[in-house]
Symmetry: C2
Subunit: 324 residues, 2 copies
């Protein structure tokens, strides 16, 4: 390892770190704290690296970048996260200390929309349930199959018609679905029917696709009333955030067959999934993976590498959140 390469403290490795590290090890000395049981300062001492030698942190959302960490590294100049969000980083401490922060930029709207449509088809056509059934029997019996429902002609109510919602709508139109939507306000440029009331949207829909942002107003926007309005054959797809749905009520409605099914990529208490859902055949459970594809990971890695390079050559960050 060349001694004159700049140190990068890896505080929570990116998901594709095993590819990333060797690719850039000729440019940086990576110090992977997450692979060590030691606390930060002991870890650095064990590597004979003085805290003031660390100028860059690479992190992911599973590892918090606290004020304590930031204060331990007097020469720290940049925190580069491979996530879109920055909840795990103490941004005010970064601001106070003039530490620059770079994110992964925008997530792949298309990937998220693709998964939403995949979950919708899966729930309606019982793909995962059938796959489970076939794997158990190593054969199939025509008379004992979970019978799916047609995708075409379904009225799909989109909750939050932003970039992702528009991509979902575009895809579902090609299947012959009818698109309706609810948003904070009617979009003048959009011809899909607008519902100011989420309950009325649900009553007019066969499927709800939840893809709005989680805010104080949208917390539990899908409550029991909405689910009952959606009805016994209704399906809910959630690729937004878990807390957009009252999960306790959702579980009850699914168990009691007050709604027909659900395709869920997000949950209120991640990474935990309500255990009542595990035994249900009309539910598809996805591990918050809507934006997780090999291609988007590689893109994220390229951006992280670009931000490292920009920082160490005193250029503006590619995807700055804080960059004075």
């Amino acid at each position: 390892m060349a001694q004159n390469l700049p140190y990068v403290l890896v505080l929570g490795p990116p998901l594709t770190y095993s590819e990333f590290q060797p690719r850039y090890s000729s440019s940086y000395n990576f110090l992977n704290l997450s692979s060590s049981p030691l606390p930060l300062l002991q870890f650095l001492a064990a590597h004979r690296v003085h805290p003031s030698s660390i100028r860059a942190i690479l992190c992911n959302p599973l590892q918090r970048v606290t004020a304590d960490v930031l204060r331990s590294l007097p020469s720290l100049g940049v925190v580069i996260t491979t996530s879109v969000g920055t909840d795990h980083i103490d941004l005010s401490e970064c601001r106070r200390r003039g530490i620059r922060v770079a994110t992964a930029g925008g997530l792949s709207t298309e990937d998220v929309a693709d998964l939403a449509v995949g979950l919708l088809i899966d729930v309606l056509r019982r793909i995962s349930a059938s796959d489970r059934c076939v794997r158990k029997l190593i054969r199939f019996e025509f008379l004992n199959l979970p019978l799916g429902s047609q995708v075409g002609g379904k009225r799909v109510g989109i909750v939050g018609l932003g970039k992702i919602g528009m991509e979902v709508a575009k895809r579902l139109e090609a299947f012959g679905c009818k698109i309706l939507y609810h948003s904070r306000s009617k979009k003048p440029s959009v011809s899909y029917p607008f519902y100011s009331s989420i309950v009325e949207l649900a009553a007019s829909s066969d499927v709800l696709v939840v893809c709005c942002a989680l805010t104080e107003e949208s917390h539990h926007i899908i409550d029991r009333k909405v689910m009952l309005a959606l009805g016994k054959d209704g399906v809910i797809v959630n690729i937004g955030r878990g807390a957009l749905i009252d999960e306790k009520e959702l579980v009850q409605c699914l168990v009691e067959k007050e709604i027909g099914g659900a395709g869920l990529d997000v949950f209120e208490n991640e990474p935990h999934v309500p255990k009542e859902l595990i035994s249900l055949d009309n539910v598809v459970l996805s591990p918050h993976a809507a934006s997780m594809t090999l291609e988007s990971f590689n893109h994220t890695m390229e951006i992280a590498a670009g931000n490292l390079e920009a920082f160490f050559s005193n250029k503006p960050l590619l995807t700055p959140l804080l960059d004075d």
Copy 2:
């Protein structure tokens, strides 16, 4: 049960028979042979029905309508199957005896295309595999997930660009896929790139969607050479017929990771599924369900009822295969 209602011999009940029977029991005396262990003539005797009282058969593809059966029923006038195909009916004996035959008409092209796209998204995005993983753990760990691949930008080679292939193409265009195709001949009205060689199509594709008819020429059209041309990241979706693919080679290519994955609705030896596939995470197994939706079943039932009514009121059948 009114004694003057016409008898309908149910020889293999339609899948939604439990709904169908009560709905039409005021019009017909249904005699459900498939619910009895007795052979035909003993079954009729047990019901005190003379074989010459049977003028109509209702059947599905799981029960053969042999020359023996046809000869046992001297007054038989019609065989109504709830399937599109008629392989299970001795058509030449029907022709010889002047027995009319009605099918379910055409299957739902859209339903089949929807499942093809559902399988494609599922394999690429690892939906069923992730669902399996989440159900096992009742939680998910970000670092141990099956990582999917983007749908957008994929080059999808459609093998057989008929009605179903065109519907598949229409849907995938909305996801930003690039469509290529192989058919017996170039379609003058289609602008997608045409490949006369299936191996060249595979070499230029990330995904193959197999949806051509099974003929002598198309038997094993997807052989080892095609799979190797498709390559290690390549995915095969089959919603045509099992024998379009050399299944033994497919299994080997999947096990040895010569191709990336498969979404299979059809198999060479149905209802059996190759047991080697059961343990693979990059495969989605569907029980020949591409055209099976509640809506298409209901439609099929309406057609069967319409054919029964047409026959007993001496009108032309709705969906005749033989109707002199």
